[in-house]
Symmetry: C2
Subunit: 653 residues, 2 copies
């Protein structure tokens, strides 16, 4: 079973027989998987579209509504601007799509904004992109789930008081699903997306048909319109504001560029084609919904979503098709949150591997997923939902800045990459962490395309930040720099630590230590103390027992017993007039540390009582624990706990 | 500085120079006191009356009102029974006083129900008395403070919504006062009692004078009467119920018998005379208040206390004398809580010394008081006040059962003590823990007196339990047995432990252990690991390093580095297919423990990283902590932490 591998230093390897026992978590998330079980499946274009498009496509469920929301302050007359604004957004979508085509081909190993920025722009931009993306993953969960719950409430208004609770339960369910480890290739997960696309095309198809044939009416019994008391004028600022709100339709477009490795070979080509299909579906659905919203005179309301108003007008009431559309929209919105659950833990693990985030995020749980990241995401998103009472309109101003910031950084990075490629000679190769640089014809054009993309997304980001500053965008403008600062603080801790502990250029420890002093605090003399004393004497001949005297009678007893049982060991009694235990002991130990000779090791042997039942702890002073806590931070001492258990209890069990 | 005391075993004694640093607690409760500073003052009869009578006297502030409260359900006609009931209660007071006279003389060292029961009736009755008393101390705080707040609210009705807050703040203030350690001899603390007695005698004096001269009217603008919708008949049960409520006037009478040691010599005589004076004042005030209540036709109300109604009728409105009476009543009620703050921690410490309560209760804090007991009392009383919304009428049904239970036990104990004395021969002495038994003439009479007292209080207790069972007395009938059970569970833990660890009849540990195996878990190889390795090799030549392999690349690195730096030490690699760290390691260690030879010691050396800043903990796995937690409960292994600190940070500081 043990097989030596090496002659000089004996290295043995053995397989642990340990199998995790059955527990509640098995039932919740499934039996533990072995590391060797990691799945290696890849997916085709159709499934890929379903898997990666849910986030992007789901935004059609709220983007039009959020445009209406801004225009409402100028009265329903301003609704005429919805369609033109939507056209501008679709144009932006086209630019971003073309720009990302190039990223996908350049980074076949996955080209998220974090990797592209890191390889081309340096640490700081990479961390900015990272924090922007992490923030937006969290917001994606909060926004999508809140929007999904809004759909449910539109169909069943009596559920309105339970919005927050429903949303939090949904967040937890998706968390469990992801802790279980959803197989991305599963067709199960593709179904809702296709169902949604189908239902939406049926809705807008019938809607446009009825509109053309003149049989499409307007919303019957519209929900209460939410407008300001006094209407404001239609200003360019207002139009830009509405435009900014609508750009939330573009969130999720970057998902495919992050997940290229999941595609079948030729990966980049398949991913690129999928991206184009996704953009076409997204753009056409968005335009159609925006157009029909105007036709049916849907209004902005907290009580019923625009999709719900549209669907019940198109389908003449709340029949089966209406309910199908609402169900599909709800499910796709929840699926969109699922995309964030895939992205956040992976990006977290990537940044943690680069030592910008706590190492715990690289830890894969029993089901081979980054459990800590998944739980972190769920907790923060739940808090957001609770704070913002699951209201999409309150969350939207925080959303999308991060997306456009990472779009911009990613494309600036790409532009810089093309420029670097332009400097190479033919045949030359430069290997970077995320991709390989080779000279390419036409690098100038490609650089221009990415630069133009970067410019557009940067402008949108600015519009977003300015028009929505007062509504909440300022929060993000504080959070992202704060996160970046935090990431670098974490990084410098890990870097310092590694530099301090590294064995590179390490010449070995100073010459062998010779003297070993042992100090043993005793509060009462009993069998446990004697066992600890025996251990102390096993370590060294230089043992000093220390008793802190709080009650004189107690000290008298200790002294007497020590003469009988102390085996001649030196006992120091520290009088503690203020009845403190830890402090005088620490003072004494510190004095010894200060007078320590070089090459002297000091060990503190602490007899520690281990109760057989947990609640027994309440009946003991736990001084050993306090002492340990204090002593651990003193350099140059080693702390040894000699536990004594009351075994009679254990034998009984 | 170090002075050897003994030739064979070197025992040295030193005074710790450690002075507790200034902190917030100095400001709150005063600078720490040395053990030698413990006060040894004793007090005379007058101050003694003031110090120990506040609890008993304060009950005159609510006892009459609580009788009215019960009678209210039969309409105000039933109020005619108040005075006769009060006479019965005063008769009971006389019996208890005579009975306690004997206790005071028998136990000059302090004769609380706990001690008397323990010495004469055994462990179980003592613990019943103890839990009854502890429960009642808590209720004294809750009831007195709530009643004090009720007085304040009577004078300033606008404070009504803040009852609970005011009460909790008062509990905390008295807690701080007691943590500071109130000198019982202080005349400061005697003033409020005298003020109260004076104001009450002025009130009832003027009241009776005006009543005799026919100038005493009835309550002007009486508060809203709280009566049931349908009046019930006046039944014997109702009268007994009202009587039971009124017996709360007797709470606190036992205080003097607990505090005999505080009196000047001749202690017992002084204490006995003080008790008689207290009973006379208490009885006369109570009777006078009950009488005048009927004269002025005061009514039972949640909004205004009976004392307030009486005082403003006697003084013709809310003038200075009225406010003085209310202030005096409020202060005495809060002082009564103070009595409980003195009693609870002392009884707690006594029971803890007898090992029926956690040892922590014997610990005297920086001001030489039993801090843990004081804080425990404050926390539980605050919870009670919050749960019962500071309402006296809701708390009263829980109150006083405990008092009468301990009265009864104490007097049965005394009766048994007389019987034991009767069995002694002249001149014979038996020394018990709390007193000395000597033959006495007339032991039969004294036994009869105590037996009669016990009978009376037992009957009252039964009346109390039966008439108030449904109102809440059942809670106490559950809590007291539960507490007794808990005390015995605690006791058996301490007893087991002591039996297991005792050195009586201990023949010494088995022969010296010979083999010392060291196991050292390593997760990465760095300077910290090497220091731990050096330490491990200092302990023994038999060192095995164990690496749990979670990531294959990491393991590859560890293996390579170990060949360079491992100094030839054996390395065991445990493959962990489920990516668990602790479990495979534990399994391996357990296997070694199971195969352990007799006389073999196993030490686990754990390299433990100690971050220089507390928050850095969040960036590390803390596996050392988890491992320690698990290993401590395994018999036969010793755990050693070799800490490595990043010292560069520390040098910077």
């Amino acid at each position: 079973m043990l097989t030596p591998e090496n002659n000089q230093t004996e290295i043995m390897r053995r397989q642990s027989d340990y199998k995790p026992p059955r527990s509640l978590s098995h039932w919740l998330i499934g039996r533990p998987l072995q590391t060797a079980d990691a799945p290696e499946q890849t997916i085709g274009k159709v499934i890929g579209l379903a898997v990666f498009a849910s986030d992007a496509l789901s935004s059609t469920a709220y983007a039009t509504q959020e445009i209406l929301g801004v225009l409402s302050v100028a009265g329903t007359a301003a609704y005429d601007y919805v369609f033109p604004i939507s056209i501008a957004i679709v144009a932006l979508l086209a630019i971003v799509t073309i720009s990302y085509q190039q990223t996908i081909h350049a980074y076949p190993g996955g080209g998220g904004a974090y990797i592209v920025s890191r390889d081309n722009l340096g640490e700081m931009p990479a961390q900015i992109a990272g924090s922007a993306l992490l923030t937006d993953y969290i917001l994606t969960v909060a926004v999508s789930i809140s929007a999904g719950v809004a759909q449910i409430v539109s169909a069943y208004p009596s559920l309105d008081p339970y919005r927050v609770q429903i949303a939090v339960v949904a967040v937890i369910l998706i968390m469990l699903l992801n802790l279980r480890g959803v197989k991305e290739s599963g067709t199960t997960i593709a179904l809702p997306t296709f169902f949604f696309v189908a239902m939406m095309f049926v809705t807008v198809g019938i809607g446009i048909f009825r509109s053309l044939t003149g049989t499409l009416g307007v919303v019957v019994d519209p929900p209460e319109l939410h407008v300001a008391e006094t209407l404001v004028a239609i200003t360019p600022f207002l139009i830009l504001h509405a435009f900014a709100n609508g750009t939330t339709a573009l969130t999720g477009v970057e998902a495919i560029s992050n997940g290229i490795t999941a595609f079948k070979e030729p990966r980049s080509r398949n991913a690129a084609i999928t991206l184009i299909w996704m953009s076409i579906i997204l753009g056409s659905l968005f335009l159609a919904i925006s157009h029909l919203t105007g036709q049916v005179q849907a209004v902005y309301s907290h009580d019923e979503t625009v999709v719900s108003q549209l669907a019940r007008t198109v389908f003449n009431g709340r029949g089966l098709l209406y309910l199908g559309t609402i169900a599909a929209t709800t499910v796709i919105l929840i699926m969109a949150a699922n995309t964030a659950y895939a992205g956040f833990p992976r990006l977290g693990a990537l940044a943690a591997e680069d030592r910008f985030l706590p190492r715990q995020l690289t830890f894969r749980g029993s089901r081979l997923v980054y459990s800590n990241g998944i739980v972190t995401l769920a907790v923060i998103a739940s808090l957001l939902i609770i704070v913002f009472r699951a209201r999409v309109d309150l969350l939207i101003p925080l959303y999308a800045i991060g997306v456009f910031l990472s779009f911009t950084l990613s494309q600036i990075g790409m532009a810089r990459r093309w420029w670097k490629i332009g400097q190479l000679e033919e045949g030359q190769e430069v290997v970077e962490a995320g991709s390989v640089l080779r000279y390419e014809e036409g690098w100038r054009t490609k650089m221009l395309i990415n630069s133009f993309g970067a410019l557009c997304t940067a402008v949108v980001m600015l519009i977003f930040a300015i028009t929505k500053f007062r509504e909440g965008a300022w929060v993000v403008l504080i959070i992202i720099p704060a996160l970046v600062k935090l990431f670098f603080t974490v990084h410098s801790h890990y870097k310092d630590l590694a530099a301090h502990l590294t064995l590179d250029r390490f010449s070995g420890l100073p010459s062998r230590q010779t003297r070993h002093r042992v100090i043993m605090p005793v509060s009462g003399i009993h069998q446990g103390t004697l066992e600890a004393l025996r251990y102390a004497k096993l370590l060294s001949d230089d043992v000093t027992a220390v008793h802190v005297s709080i009650e004189p009678e107690e000290t008298e007893k200790v002294q007497k017993k020590w003469k009988t049982w102390g085996e001649g060991t030196r006992l120091v009694i520290l009088d503690s007039p203020f009845r403190l235990f830890i402090e005088p002991l620490l003072e004494y130990i510190e004095e010894i540390i200060d007078n320590r000779q070089p090459n002297e090791t000091i060990t503190i042997v602490v007899p520690q009582f281990i109760p057989s039942k947990r609640w027994h702890h309440a009946l003991h002073m736990r001084t050993a624990d306090f002492l340990r806590q204090e002593l651990l931070s003193k350099p140059g001492v080693v702390i040894t706990d000699v536990p004594y258990q009351v075994r009679r209890h254990q034998e009984k069990e």
